[in-house]
Subunit: 87 residues, 2 copies
Amino acid sequence: MALVKVYVNYKKSILNPEAQAVNNALQRLGYEDIEDVKLGKYFELTVADGKSKADLDAEINEICDKLLANYNMENYHYEIDETEAAK
Amino acid sequence: MALVKVYVNYKKSILNPEAQAVNNALQRLGYEDIEDVKLGKYFELTVADGKSKADLDAEINEICDKLLANYNMENYHYEIDETEAAK
């Protein structure tokens, strides 16, 4: 089994009020050395074996484009961990 | 500046309907080799320089416990990337 870790973040030009709220809360709590907060989504997909690396790449990109990320507002990147199955 | 990447996931025993919905959608779309989906949050904190590694660890743990993760339902882990500032 492969474990695919997908990170989805808002694009820089998109305002993210939730991240801003976290940043404000941190400042209020006195963590003044935190200069910026970004907040995104983190998916772990457990994928059955039997696909080549190229096919797996194609499938993951398709899944991200169709379902996990909104390409108008979000960027994604992913890592494939062949050895580790999702815990 | 250090970039701290914090991953917050639900504990195994906690039902995550959003992850389940994504998994159902993937099955419906024909991605039958996806066996499991986990969904969590991903924070990137940009932290000003000037703290020792131990102090930074202590601060990040405190922030996670207080604000970023709900310790009843969620686990977190983090990575500190000293060289890379948040893009």
